[in-house]
Assembly symmetry: C2
Homo-oligomer: 198 residues x 2
Amino acid sequence: MDGLPTLVQLLRQLQRVPYLASKNLQRVAQHFLTLEEPQVAAFCQALLEAKRNLVTCSTCCAWQERSGHCIFCNSPKRDHATICVVETWHDLCAIERSGGYHGDYHVLGGALCPLEGVGPDDLTVEVLVGRIGPIHKEVVLAMNQTPEGEATATYVVRSLRDKEILITRLAQGVPAGGSLEYTDRLTLCKALSERKVY
Amino acid sequence: MDGLPTLVQLLRQLQRVPYLASKNLQRVAQHFLTLEEPQVAAFCQALLEAKRNLVTCSTCCAWQERSGHCIFCNSPKRDHATICVVETWHDLCAIERSGGYHGDYHVLGGALCPLEGVGPDDLTVEVLVGRIGPIHKEVVLAMNQTPEGEATATYVVRSLRDKEILITRLAQGVPAGGSLEYTDRLTLCKALSERKVY
């Protein structure tokens, strides 16, 4: 590809996009090259405007429009006494999609991972501790069921020890539609130990 | 997401990119939002410049710089008597990576697929027929081993029937590293019928 510097530059930029398998790079490049120029321009404009107009809410750290208000913290329909703590924005979106939660959120911005250099200062735990006041009744921990997620949950619990607030976490157990035969041992153990009265 | 029009616009643009699973859309959006603005600008510039500067070679239909020459057709190191016909640019790249071919190419721009509305006029078969002259000795058909690829190969062969040129196709058989136990029946049948003297 030595004679095609523009294509090389495009591929180099696409390589930095996560979740684009390297096998698909050429195909995605092909996609953009076969678009009409106004379509490419519209794509670029959406990217740049998103970068310019979206900021994190100073309270819950979720995305909000720079000129608007946080759609969670400022919603009159939500229960502001409950805060659901999630690792990332896409975890928040997953919980929103479930339709089973109507309180506030707090986006940590990741999970503790010493191997990848993510320490407590890289997360927004301080902001969470600072925002909890007398109106708040419950903090729901909704981290992923990974070692990093569990370490983060432990850290959040410890940071909140001086606050008089109920701390809960998501239930663990057999997933919906899951058959026992194919459920792993750890999940089954947790489903058993957290069994409920029928 | 009603209160986040900029984010919705970004997701809508990302949705049109192929090979980006919808599960990853939020993560890719997150990636672009956490980049610095100059990095997003560089990404957009690479896209727009690629769109402006890359055109298809009028001979072989591969990508070339608008201001330059085709790196295949104009290379003094390549054997211009042989033309390898491929469906797409990424198939061409796969063959280049193999290092086993040093002739010219011809990019058809896809494969015949009546169900998706891709007919002979959408491919560059006419250009291929028109470019074959006395200096050409061999056309290597390198379509994918799919029904569409095979239909396309048949069509190309028929289009070339008036040309006095050797037409070959890629060998079919057991892939490198493939174990016979896990090779499908059709592949084994083809490997047997095309067996070679040891």
